[in-house]
Structures are given as structure tokens and as C-alpha cells.
Subunit: 340 residues, 2 copies
Amino acid sequence: MAGLRLEDIAKQVGVSRSTVSRVVNGHPHVREDVRKRVLEVIQKTGYHPNAAARTLASQRSQMIGLVLPRTVTSFFTDPYFPHLTQGIAQACNQSDYTLGLFLVGTKDDEEKIFPRVSRRGFLDGVLVQTGQIGDQLIDRLVNSNIPLVIIGRPFHADGVSYIDVDNVDAAYNAVSHLLRLGYQRIATITGPANSTTGIDRQEGYFRALAERDRTVDESLVAEGDFSEASGYYAMQRLLPAKPDAVFAASDMMAIGAMRAVREAGLSIPGDVALVGFDDLPRAALTDPPLTTVRQQVQQFGMSAVGVLTDLIENGITPPRRVIMATELIVRESCGAYRRQ
Amino acid sequence: MAGLRLEDIAKQVGVSRSTVSRVVNGHPHVREDVRKRVLEVIQKTGYHPNAAARTLASQRSQMIGLVLPRTVTSFFTDPYFPHLTQGIAQACNQSDYTLGLFLVGTKDDEEKIFPRVSRRGFLDGVLVQTGQIGDQLIDRLVNSNIPLVIIGRPFHADGVSYIDVDNVDAAYNAVSHLLRLGYQRIATITGPANSTTGIDRQEGYFRALAERDRTVDESLVAEGDFSEASGYYAMQRLLPAKPDAVFAASDMMAIGAMRAVREAGLSIPGDVALVGFDDLPRAALTDPPLTTVRQQVQQFGMSAVGVLTDLIENGITPPRRVIMATELIVRESCGAYRRQ
DNA sequence: GTGAAAGCGCTAACAG
DNA sequence: CTGTTAGCGCTTTCAC
């Protein structure tokens, strides 16, 4: 089982290495009976081609990397990333790629990881999650000229490929929904102001208000970092301004906000209506169930892999752009049903 | 930057390939000034060794795989796995290994993944999560003779290395705690009966009862699968038997149970006390905060990598066994504070 | 302390 | 349709 080479099975079948290589790689131009005999011996012996040798000779590793920068603070405490990862892993399975996972925890990690990711011949391409403004890692990756797909709109989008959901539109829809329900003091708990995701969702909030000629009240905007805790504290800061509805830029923040509202002795949606973003599985189980913007995170991850393999197979220019749609899921927390 | 070979920088420095290789790999027996000159050129040119070539020549890939079998239903919906993964990834960074992630979703995936994982020269070792009885994958992995560490006690433990927490002891402690608080009808929501984790935690429950000469009431035992939903339904089945306390074998199930208890109009811990298992970040934020068994999941993942690298560097025999301790975290849900 | 040379196991022209 | 022949870029004895 171990140490079996292409040569060995070639000898057993009585053909040349090349022929065996051809059948292993599914190339045409091999006589059917020969192919069959080769396959038999491969089966019998349990031969597997040596990946390193294959990579070295073909200059293709059939492996892609997923890099999650350290500025993604909420790594795996936010279910978003696990779901994304799962979608990506699934797509890799289907397209016969192996997934390398690079979690950048510290500045040190970044130094260690970068060479591994950009080293020629190791990865065919990389997927990287956008983080905060000024994140060096993405720029370095872009410069390394490896096929690269950025997950989320990057700050410097010139010439790079990325995939994102339509955050502005999604937030616009969510807030418009609240406006249609008649709420007067709609607050928002934003994502980090130094992340495109945070910025875009806030932009959607502004647009929806502007469209109805509402002026923006600064005391109704509180910044969070997508985490439960940040939502909790942001809501506490918002409460004195007496919002009658809140759009939170993530479900986790909405859940934190719920906790703060409840602790203040107020009811949802009676006193404060709430809309989240993500539609995590938990969102349907909160009390009351959370109205939220659904993104197909897993599908999103799969699409990201699709774009990357396109880049790998067909060249990195022109840059590809994919913007995915979202859907507003109306549950109890926005008060839509109560008001009907 | 691209296509730079060892040879190229050897030429630039005016030494042989071997010397440069020695410097790159930190071997001794290189004159200090030569080493410095080589390092300079490497720095200047941004040279990175080709991973495939290195793997091929050295028979070491510096890469390990993490395999999560498809029988781990709750993949990434249970925060347990993300935390575990994070710990593993972190340890990989530190010890200069690259982590390959293999999520087995379907039977098909399994067929695709197995060769990649067991293929010689691709991975130096693999970490695999235990799943259910009869999971073929683990047996196949064991037979492939690659350095292997099983995460969680495997069903067939002969000759294999594994790492686990002391589930029996942990559950025993949790239930003993409830017994000491004077509860009379202590129920349990178990993990899957075909998983060692489920079995061991149930065993701890039995032992604690037996030690106090309590007979086991079958109507106080309900099986779940570690998920929130399964905890919810299990609790609904338990409720008619009027338990005054419940030990759930996972926090997610405890959270589901809470929901069921609340929906039944009962209070926690007044009517039903509750203890969970895992100490997920969420456990401290439930209402009331959940008493639970803490496992240092991240630390656990890091230790798993430690064991694996030991196997890789020092041979796979004798099999290594690591059993990690747990700690009972007392919060409100068990009623300890209320009763004082 | 350093260089020459022989692979590691495979792919991919190129002949035939 | 099949075999021969070069490499892919690095590590690693073995001489010197």
C-alpha cells in the first residue's frame, strides 16, 4: 500500500508509466481494454498518486486556501464564519479541490501564514475575507498575483475579484420595511465603521430614511462590531434616545440588543421593534422570533469557490464581480403581524 | 518574485544550491558570513521555496488534515466545532503546519476525501473527530497507517491514539452536584446512544445516581443528538415525568430544553433545575445563566495537534492517550444560589 | 564548510 | 494509441 509508484503499477500491467498516468488522469487516447486493466491493478493495489510529485510536475496543487484575517475579530464566535466555511468546504469537495484553512490570530500568524499562502506551487488560489481598512494582508495577497477572490467588497477594489451580497440594498429594504410599518424613530446598530460591510449596511439605512425625507438623528446611530456583546452595549446607548425600532447590522447584535431591551423592562416589538441581518438559525428561535435579512451564506461560500476556480482555470483578468441578492424574512420582532 | 528557484539565488550569491538549501532550512555547518549573504538575497528577492518540490524531496509536507465525518451532524451549527477548529488552527500556526480541512458531508464526499487524506506525501498526519458507531471512515484511516489522532474516544481503541475529555467524570460531577442540592427526580438528556461521547456522559449520570442508591427511572432519560432542536423535543418528552432537575449532555440541548420548559409555563430553576455541558460563550448569557461543565475546547484542539506532531516526529507507536479534565461552572440554572 | 550528483514521483511534449 | 525523454525544484548523501 505504501511506497507504490506509477512505475510499479505500469510494470504490473505491462505498459509504460505514461499510459498509466493517462488513465489516472482520465486522458483520452487509451485503448479501452488497456484502461480497464490499469484500473483493475490500481484498484487491487490501492494505489494513489503522490500529490507532491504531481503538483511539482503539473504546477497545479488542486488546493485552495481560505484566509480569515485577524481583523475578523468574531472569527468563530459568530456563526457566520462557520457557515461560510462549510459552504466553501462543500464546494471544494465537489470540485476536487483541497481546502487549506488559515486563521490569522496574531500579527505573528500573519507573517507565518503569508509565505505559505503566496508560496508558488502550494496553492492554486486563495479566498480571503475582507476585514478592516488598512489590513495589510489583502494588499499583500493582491500583489502576490495569485488567483484571489475577496469575500466581501474590499476597500481598494481596482482590478481585484470579489464576491459580496448587496448590503446597501438589503439594509435599505429592511429599514424601508420598518418605515412602511409606521415607525418614527428608527435607530441602527451598525457594524464597524472601518469595514465595508458596516459601511454599506449603514448606507442602506441612510438611503431608506433619505428617501422618505427623514433627517438622520445621530443619537439613533450606535456602532457595534457584529458581536452579541457589542449589540447589547450599543442598545444601552440607544435606549435614552427612545427609538421605536432598531435595525441591527447582524443577528448577533440584534440578539444582544434584545437582551438590553428586555433588561430595560421594555417589550419587543411593543416598545421597540427589531430587525437583524444574516438569518442565522438562531434568529427563528429568539423570543420573539427575529425579523431579519437572509443571506444564503453557504451558497455564498460555494459561489466564492466557483469564482476562484474560474480565475484559476481561465486567468485572473478581467476581475470578476459577483453581487448576491438577499431576502427580508419577516417574523415577529418587527411588529408587522401585531400591527395588521 | 515568481519562478524564483533555489538555483537562482545560489547563482546570485555565488554558492551552490546545497548551501542555500542549508541556510533556508537552518542547518548548521554554514559559515556565518555566507549565511548572512544568502539570507540577504533571499530577503531582497522575496524568494520562497516551492512547497511541492520540498515535500517531494523530503517526504514531509508540513501539513496535517482535520477530518470531520459526516456523522457529526451538527457540524458547524454547534459552536463546539468552530472552537475546536480554531484551537487546532492556532496550534498549526505555531508549529508551522498547514491545516487542511475536510468536511465530509455526504457518502460521496467520503469517497473523494479519503484518497486525498491517505495519499502518501500529501499529509503528514490527520486529526479525525469521532462520530457514530460503525463509521467506516475512521477504520479506513486507522488502516492507512498514517499518523492519526482521534478526537474523542473511539469505539475501537486498540492501538490507536486519541484525546478526549473525561466525560464520565464530568457528567458524574454535574449530576452529583444536583444530588447534593437535594433534587429528587433528576433527568438527563443524553447525546446519541451510538456515540462514545453520548455513552460516556450517560454513564457518568448513572454512576452518580448509583452511588447514592438511586434507581434509574427510564422515563427520566431522553436521547438527543446534541442539537438545540433535539434538546427541545427531548425536554418535551421528559416533562410528563415531572423531573425537578435535568442534566443535558450539551449546552445546545440545555438551551433547547430551556425553551421547552419555558413554553410549558415552568420556571428555571424553580420548577426544573438545569445543567449543561460545554460552557459555550452563550451559556453565560442564557436566562437564567446556565450551570454547565466547562471543557477547554480550544486548548483541547491545541493538545490534539501536539499529540499528532509527536506521532509524526517520533513514530506512531506506542499509541498516545490524553484525557483532559473538566470543571463544573455553577451559575443560576441549577438553583444552587437560590437554595443557599 | 561546501559542492556535485542522485533522486523524490509525476506530467507532458515529442516521437513513433 | 503508446513509449521515451526531459524536466518540475528541492533535499540529501557523499566526497572533497
